[in-house]
């Protein structure tokens, strides 16, 4: 996160992590399509000729939050990155992950990809540790993508898995744009809650913390209600608070 008090700006970095070909870039493309032109910049993709992400993709979002009373409000700049999923790009993944404020883990719902999902998650955890970040403290949501395919883990299985886990879980078929906004808002909700709790951002910028997400949704041209979007979460804890040790 970067805070610029003079310019009344807060910059967040969100990272979409996950195994190769799980649909991280597709999530970003869909998000790009689903949001208003005014709220976003160009989608920057750095890919090789066979459409595989080489370094990363980046989608910048820019949202203005009106201030309460006489406060001029603030600008929330969000940069969403994807990491290259292929195993050989380990160094790049670590570099992209640097300074992340929140992570959406894009998993592939196909049963055959179960091990790749797990391996990529362990890779994420190791990279976070290497970067000196505590995986338990970082806002993290999980998306089970490719719900439109055959031979996938069933809804019941995912709900059962999600109810046992800590991280909020969303279902998506990013290609059709389903579940993409839900995942993004879930992640933004957790990230904002954590950073606001730590730095009293809303108080210092003079904005209403509860109004931030609805304002973001309006500016992004999202017609759905934020609570509806967050309601798509099928398990885990969206408040992000770790379970008290017993």
């Amino acid at each position: 996160m970067q805070i610029n008090f003079g310019g009344r700006e807060v910059a967040l970095k969100l990272v979409y992590y996950g195994p190769a070909l799980s649909g991280k870039t597709t999530n970003l493309r869909s998000l790009h399509q689903l949001t208003s032109e005014a709220s976003r910049g160009r989608l920057m993709t750095l890919e090789t000729k066979d459409d595989r992400t080489l370094f990363f993709d980046m989608l910048p979002l820019m949202l203005k939050a009106n201030g309460e009373k006489s406060s001029p409000g603030m600008t929330l700049r969000i940069k969403i990155f994807t990491v290259p999923g292929q195993v050989l790009h380990a160094t790049t993944r670590k570099l992209v992950l640097q300074g992340a404020d929140g992570v959406a883990f894009i998993a592939d719902s196909q049963v055959s990809e179960t091990e790749h999902n797990a391996a990529s998650f362990l890779d994420l955890r190791q990279n976070l540790k290497n970067l000196g970040l505590n995986p338990r403290e970082l806002p993290l949501v999980i998306q089970f993508n490719k719900r439109d395919l055959d031979r996938i883990r069933s809804d019941e299985e995912i709900s059962a898995l999600a109810s046992h886990g800590r991280e909020p879980v969303f279902k998506a078929s990013a290609l059709a744009g389903h579940g993409v906004l839900e995942t993004f808002f879930g992640l933004l909700h957790m990230t904002w809650a954590k950073l606001d709790g730590e730095h009293q951002l809303a108080k210092m910028m003079g904005v209403d913390p509860r109004e931030l997400l609805p304002m973001a949704a309006r500016q992004m041209g999202v017609s759905a209600d934020v609570s509806t979007l967050l309601g798509a979460c099928v398990g885990g804890r969206l408040d992000g608070k770790p379970e008290e040790a017993k």
């Binding site: 970095k13 910049g41 750095l46 370094f55 990363f56 980046m58 160094t91 640097q98 300074g99």
Partner: protein, 479 residues
């Protein structure tokens, strides 16, 4: 109120805070772009960075401006207008009009990238469509201004409606935005590339350092081991000499006649003493070979007498085991360089092993001949005709018809103390040092040793030594 502002610049490569126009665009290219707009629409265009740096300038002087500048007051007024335009901010809306006393106007537009202002675009001067008559502010600026001339030149100024200028500016901004995006993408990519390379390099250096450390430690351990072996074997040999010597004297009756049973015991002490000595000598040889302190007495020598001596030594043992021991040396075999004593040790060891592992009725054959070194496939090497003769090898094979060595064990048998089947130590005896010493001795002759199948059954140890065809002066003297 103290605020905890995290340190972001150092560890975050990608949230690049401030993007500067001048970092992303090529200035000459930008200048050309502006000139193409001037050529297309006839309206001057300038681009300034946020710091007020002129990045591109496509503005030929208008005739009216040149005329005004011929008068003193006109020159002053023109300079002050141009100066004001240069400094004027584009305002909150990012689009303001700055009028000129001549009736012309400038449009000042904010250039934005990634939601931030990165510079200003100044379009003009141009004559707004509604200004058709030379205004009083122009005519009254200096007595030297002639009305007719001013009016005539005013009509020649580039004209544009406000909407047209907006369209031109929008188009220019869109083109520029694409250029900035491409530039930014290239910048980010190269930064990322550099960071990846740096990180990979750092990881490699880390790994290399760790490997070097481990290597140094192992080298030191190896040196300690060799020292230890040398010391220990030397110290062990001293008392052993007494044990062997005195038991030998006892069995020879130098201290009086012994009962047959006593004689047997002393003989066992003597034999095992000899065995222990052989083991210790082997260790000593090995440690000398490993530490490189073994001294070879290299000289021109024939291998045939060495092999004959080996066969003579082993014949009694072979006969006892009912193993045929044969020798087959090519008749034209000349001399090569080597230490005959060490080579005898090599072939004695190999032949002893062969006899040991060959069952009754089998055979062990020692063959010696010269061979041409195998050339790489294709063999289109330069100067082959000159080089090939230097590639002769003296090959000595010890072929047996014994139990054979499985292919995957063939590299390991040369490791010290390694035996294919540890039970074979008990069955066949031996120290497990012989072959490791043999290999090192052969290597210190510049040779190689390999194991091949001896069809239909058995093993061939193939020793290949450097060999130079004897020149006239080196021909063996005796017939």
């Amino acid at each position: 109120m103290s605020v905890d502002i995290p340190d972001v610049s150092a560890d975050d490569l990608l949230l690049d805070g401030r993007i500067r126009l001048e970092d992303l665009v090529d200035r000459e290219g930008l200048d050309e772009l502006c000139k193409s707009f001037l050529a297309l629409f006839g309206i001057p265009v300038r681009i300034y960075s946020t710091d007020g740096l002129l990045l591109a300038d496509a503005a030929g002087e208008q005739e009216l401006c040149a005329y005004v500048n011929t008068t003193q007051a006109g020159r002053h007024a023109c300079a002050s207008t141009v100066g004001a335009v240069k400094l004027r901010d584009a305002g909150d809306s990012g689009d303001v009009v700055h009028p000129c006393f001549t009736g012309a106007a400038y449009r000042i537009l904010a250039l934005e990238y990634d939601g931030r202002r990165v510079g200003r675009l100044i379009v003009g001067p141009f004559m707004p469509a509604n200004v058709t008559q030379a205004p009083e502010s122009l005519l009254g600026i200096d007595p030297g201004i002639a009305k007719e001339r001013a009016q005539k030149l005013l009509e020649r100024m580039p004209r544009a409606k406000a909407e047209a200028v907006t369209r031109i500016a929008t188009h220019l901004k869109a083109s520029l935005d694409l250029i900035l995006f491409s530039g930014h993408k290239a910048l980010v990519t190269s930064k990322m590339h550099l960071a990846s390379v740096t990180e990979s390099y750092r990881q490699l250096e880390d790994k290399t350092a760790r490997l070097q450390e481990a290597f140094d430690r192992l080298k030191e351990l190896d040196r300690l081991k060799s020292n230890f072996l040398a010391t220990v074997s030397h110290e062990l040999r001293t008392p052993l000499t007494s044990i062997i010597g005195y038991s030998e004297m006892l069995s020879e009756g130098l201290a009086g006649e012994m009962k047959p049973e006593q004689g047997e015991f002393v003989k066992t002490i003597h034999e095992n003493g000899q065995h222990l000595l052989a083991l210790i000598m082997g260790l000593l040889d090995l440690s000398k070979l490993e530490s490189g302190t073994m001294r070879m007495k290299m000289r021109a020598m024939s291998v045939a007498p060495v092999l004959e001596e080996v066969v003579a030594t082993l014949t009694p043992t072979a006969r006892k085991k009912e193993v045929r021991l044969e020798i087959d040396v090519a008749p034209d075999l000349g001399q090569s360089r080597g230490d005959p004593e060490r080579l005898r040790q090599v072939f004695l060891n190999l032949s002893e092993n062969a006899v040991k592992f060959t069952p009754a009725g089998g055979s062990v054959t020692l063959r010696a001949r010269t061979v041409r070194e195998k050339l790489a496939s294709g063999a289109d090497e330069d100067g082959l005709a000159l080089l090939a003769p230097t590639r002769m090898r003296l090959q000595v094979r010890v072929d047996d018809t014994g139990i054979g060595i499985p292919p995957r064990e063939r590299d390991k048998v040369f490791d010290p103390f390694y035996q294919v089947d540890s039970s074979s130590t008990r069955e066949y005896g031996g120290t497990g040092l012989g072959l490791s010493i043999v290999k090192r001795l052969v290597e210190s002759h510049g040779g190689t040793i390999t194991i091949e199948d001896n069809r239909p059954t058995g093993t061939s140890f193939v020793v290949s030594l450097p060999y130079t065809e004897p020149g006239p002066s080196e021909m063996p003297q005796q017939s």
